[in-house]
Structure formats: structure tokens, C-alpha cells
Amino acid sequence: MQIEYIAYPFLFIAIYFEIFLLLTFLGSHGRTSRARALATHTPKVAIIVPCWNEETTVAGTVHSLLALDYPADRLQIILVDDGSTDGTGAAMAQFDTEPRVLVLRKENGGKHTAINAGIELAGDADIIGCLDADSFVDRTALREMIAYFDDAKVAAVTPAMSVNNPRTALERMQNAEYIFGIGWRHALALVNGIFVTPGPFSLYRRSVVDELGGFRYAHQAEDMEMALRMQRHGWHIENAPRARVYTKVPRNVFRLIKQRTRWTTGFLRNVLLDYRDLVGNPKHKVLGLMVLPFGFLAVSGGIMLFCVAVFMTAKQLVTTVATVNGVPLSYVLTPHFSLGWFYVPITFLVLLGLVASVFSITFMVLGKRISGTPGNLWLDMLAYCLLYGLVAPWWLLRAVMDVAFGTRRSWR
């Protein structure tokens, strides 16, 4: 058996799931959801900004919240300094005189303790929002999201995230991935398949959060745990694709791998240890039968495809070195390839990969279109195509190793 055969089932499932989500996206339910107007009613909202050593970005985050198109008397901003050791406290202090802003300083206890402390200060707010202190909201984001709470079954609403001012190739790669996520998450929401309410601006129905007992420690993935808990209790999680939020992303590859390892181990540990009952459970429909099982397949498939690629490349390299040994380098290094359609290296694996990529690009284009995210997507896609396959397998491998050997890492 050729080793590339291992890749076929993963590619088949990837294409299947992409087609499924695309059909869902393009269906009438999707069109109706996207046509939803801005909210006209204004429930009381408290937005919590948990901070730990965010001195450079927290002011920008708060300014973007203060600029939200929402009645001042219906919006409260709660800044929680979770024992920062840098100048975060001083950066927060500039908002002490702002009536809409409350500042709380506490000892470091982890993100979930900061959010819970913020909820306690939220008074009679109907909706609780969480915004990471390295993210910035668009002016209409809140109104876009509030509209989805009209449905009484909705416990949380997620936004459309993209990268704040991407410049480097690595940032552009991440931006393409985030924009892909906009279309993807919107389609998942249409079948209630969302399993994470991201830190950059998710809104929660206060009564549901209280009923479920607030946030808790969850393997450094508290936002994922809350989403899974809501799903377990039968609540719906929506997505507002026009609610734009911009977030800062890791600027070097080591920080990126660290961040994504945290996300992936968070997924694996939460689902394997605490929410295994959801996997394969028909009661949870698309989430239980497709999203979570395919999530595991995506992790294992990513590693498998990478290993196949490394094996095939290494094998080819060894064969080539052995073959050309003794022949002058001037000949070896001269390209010897024949042009013409006859020699086009189209194989089953290449074409399947191409099909899967076309669907991924389609989701990126759709994500940008429905969210109205600014920027040059084509450059982002180029960076994504060139870099993602080289970087992503490392955090997948690291995460699987960490889970297998019980390794715990620091947040940053």
C-alpha cells in the first residue's frame, strides 16, 4: 500500500464537511439569518475586560468599547486587573473618571476568576460580554449581536473576528485563517454547532451564565468550556457575521505555536475529559455527530498529512542524493523537467487537496463578504497557502504530545 493512501479518508471527510457547511451557509436559513437587522431594543449590557499584563493594548480596547453605538446608560464596562505585574494598572487608571467604566484590581487567579469577579460587579445587566484586552470592537458590533438574543433559546452570540492591522506574512496568514473562520463559524451557528465562544467579544445571556454557575477553570480554554456547557444544557450559540472585532495576534512563530498549542490542548482536554458525553451523541445533532468527532479527525489528520509529506519528502531526498552521487553538481543543479500537458503532475492526492483548498478559499471569500472585513484578502491567502501547512502541524503535534504526557504549560 502506498503511504499517500492514508491521506485519502481525511481528505474525503474534509471535503464532505466543507460541502455540508457550504450548503448550510447558502441555504434559506442562512440567508434569513444574515438579513437580520440591527437591534432596536437595548437591554442592559456589562462588558468585562479581563486583563493580565496588557499595558500596551488595554487603553485601545476600552476606547473602542466607549465608541460603541449603544446608549451610555445601558452599557457598563468592567475592567478587571487580574494581578498584572506591568503597567496595566496605570493604563486602566486613566478611565477612573469615566462613568461607564468600573475598574477592579484583584490578585492573579486566572481568566475565569477575573470574568466571574466582573460578573459580580455587573449588577442587573441582562447581557454579559467578554472582551480580551488585546482586541477592538467595531462601532456597530454590539447592536449586531444583541439582535440575536431575540430568540429565547440563544444563550451566547459570537462575533466576526479578524486580525488588527495585519502587516507581516505571519499576521496575514492568521488573518486569512480568521476570515475563513467567519464564514465557517456562521455556517456552524446555523446548525448550532459552535463549540467555542471566543475571548474577543462574545456575549452571554446573564441568566444562563448564572444558572450554569459562572465560568470555571477549564484547561486554559474557559471560553470553550462555557460554550460546551451551554451546548450540553441544550442552549443555542449564535453568530453575528457583521459584528466585526479586530484582535492582536502573535507576531512570531514561537508565540503562535504556544498560543495554538494552548487552544488545541484546551479542545482535546475539555472534550476528552469533561465533555466526552457530547461526542457521537445524536441528542447534540451536528455538534455531537460531526463537529466534535471531526475536530479530533482534523487534529489527527493534520498530523498524519504532515507526517506523510515529511516521509515522502525525506524518501525522495534520500533517493535523489543516492542517485546523483558522483555526477557533477553543475548537471545535478540544472533543472531537468519537461514542459507540456503530458508531464503535469496531476494525481488523485493533488486533485483532492486542490478541491479541499478551493472550498477553503470559498469560505474565506464568503467570510470577508458577509462581514465586510477590510483589507487585501488575496495577500492574506497567499501567506496562508505558503505558511499554514508548514506551521500548523507543529502546534498539533505539540498539543497531542502535551495531552498524551500530561504536560501543562504557562499561558504565555
Binding site: I15, T24, K285, T319, F342, V344, I346
Partner: protein, 228 residues
């Protein structure tokens, strides 16, 4: 039926159609490649016959009239390269590949005989190497290296003619050639200017098998067959 169930079933059907289309497209391309090889081979057979007929017609003074031989060998080299690619794509045991390989081997033998005849009658002086390889797994560890070295020699010395043969190909004419040249089943095997040798150690050693001065680095007579 719920929206999700309906979409899941439609998605499955669409995925099967998409994957089926991919399989069809890959097979179609492979068939087109085989058809392309057949077409070149047919043309080549006609050209070979033409040269042989000219040779027979002009028994006494054929040399100045036989002009197609060089073009013929270049086409044969192109066909060889395409056949190698097709063999890698479809596999060495594919019936169509085997059929084409047999025809190609016949054309090579005919070209080899024609070259020998031209060399004798017209005093052409091109060095010739016969190269026998084996595709049986484990039977020829150095065949890839030998093929690559011959490709290098061919490109460096354009007057060199290389004919490569799959030793295990079930073809009467090839078996006769093997018997005539007394080739044992040790690989790689070479017949260089009538002298047999076995095994491949290095490019330098192979190069020394050719008579001194036989390999000419620059010439206009680019008439050789590419190695396997």
C-alpha cells in the same frame, strides 16, 4: 427530515460526485497520455520503416540520402522519456504500459540495428551503449544511479547513443538480443562498443568503459536515445 439531515445527505452525494469526478479526471488524463504515446509510436514505426526502405532502395549509396535517422532518434528519446513518466504514473505492470513498452523496445532494437548498419556503410562514428536494467524489486539497487549517470553522459556527449532495455520484458526480439549479446541476469548490465560489463560503481568508471576519444563533448549529431 431536519435541515441538517437533509444537508448532510446532499453533502454526501455531492462529495461522492466530486471525488468520482476527480477519479475520472485522473484516469482520463492517464488515458490521454497512453493515447499520446501510441500516436508517437505509430508515427515512429512509420518513420523507421521509411528509413529502412530508403536504405533498401539505395543499397549502393544510401548515406547522402538518408536524412531522417537523426530526427528519428530524437523522437525515440522523447518517447522514452514519456514512457518512463507513464510507467511511474500507471505502474510497471499496467497492461497498456507493458504493451507500449514492448513496442518501444522493438523500435529501439530497430534503431540500434539501423545505427549499426549506417555506421558500417556510411562510416558514421557514434559510440553506442546498450543498457539492461531490471524493475523486479530488489534485483537492481544501482539501476537508478546508472540511469542518471547515462542521462548525464548523453547530455554531455551528444554523439553517444544509449539504448535501455528492461531485461525482464517478455518480448521475443529482446530475448534474442539478450542471447546475442550474451547478457547474464546481473544488473545493471552494459554493452559498450561491443564489450560487456556488469554493475555500476561510479560515473568515472562507466565513462572509462568508452574508448578514448569516442565521447565528443560538442557535436551537431544529437541522435541518441535517452536512458531509462
Amino acid at each position: 427530515m431536519s435541515l441538517a439531515t437533509r444537508n448532510a445527505l446532499i453533502a454526501l452525494a455531492v462529495t461522492i460526485v466530486v471525488v468520482g469526478t476527480v477519479i475520472y479526471a485522473v484516469n482520463y488524463l492517464d488515458q490521454r497520455r497512453v493515447a499520446n504515446l501510441s500516436s508517437i509510436q505509430d508515427q515512429l514505426a512509420t518513420d523507421t520503416l521509411s528509413v529502412e526502405t530508403q536504405f533498401a532502395l539505395l543499397e549502393e549509396a544510401p548515406c547522402e540520402y538518408i536524412t531522417e535517422s537523426n530526427t528519428l532518434s530524437a523522437t525515440l528519446a522523447d518517447l522514452g522519456a514519456r514512457l518512463v513518466f507513464a510507467e511511474e504514473r500507471l505502474g510497471a505492470t499496467d497492461p497498456q504500459v507493458l504493451r507500449l513498452k514492448k513496442q518501444y523496445t522493438l523500435l529501439q532494437i530497430r534503431d540500434y540495428l539501423l545505427t549499426k548498419r549506417l555506421a558500417r556503410v556510411c562510416e558514421a562514428d557514434s559510440p553506442v551503449a546498450l543498457y539492461f536494467y531490471s524493475n523486479v524489486p530488489g534485483s537492481c539497487a544501482d539501476c537508478n544511479r546508472a540511469s542518471y549517470a547515462l542521462s548525464y553522459l548523453h547530455e554531455t556527449y551528444p554523439n553517444l547513443r544509449v539504448y535501455s532495455f528492461d531485461y525482464n520484458l517478455d518480448l521475443g526480439a529482446l530475448k534474442t538480443l539478450i542471447a546475442m549479446e550474451k547478457i547474464r541476469s546481473e544488473f545493471p548490465a552494459f554493452v559498450i562498443e561491443g564489450k560487456r560489463s556488469y554493475g555500476f560503481t561510479s560515473l568515472d568508471v562507466l565513462e572509462k568503459e568508452f574508448p578514448k576519444g569516442a565521447l565528443v563533448a560538442s557535436t551537431t549529431a544529437s541522435t541518441t536515445q535517452k536512458s531509462r
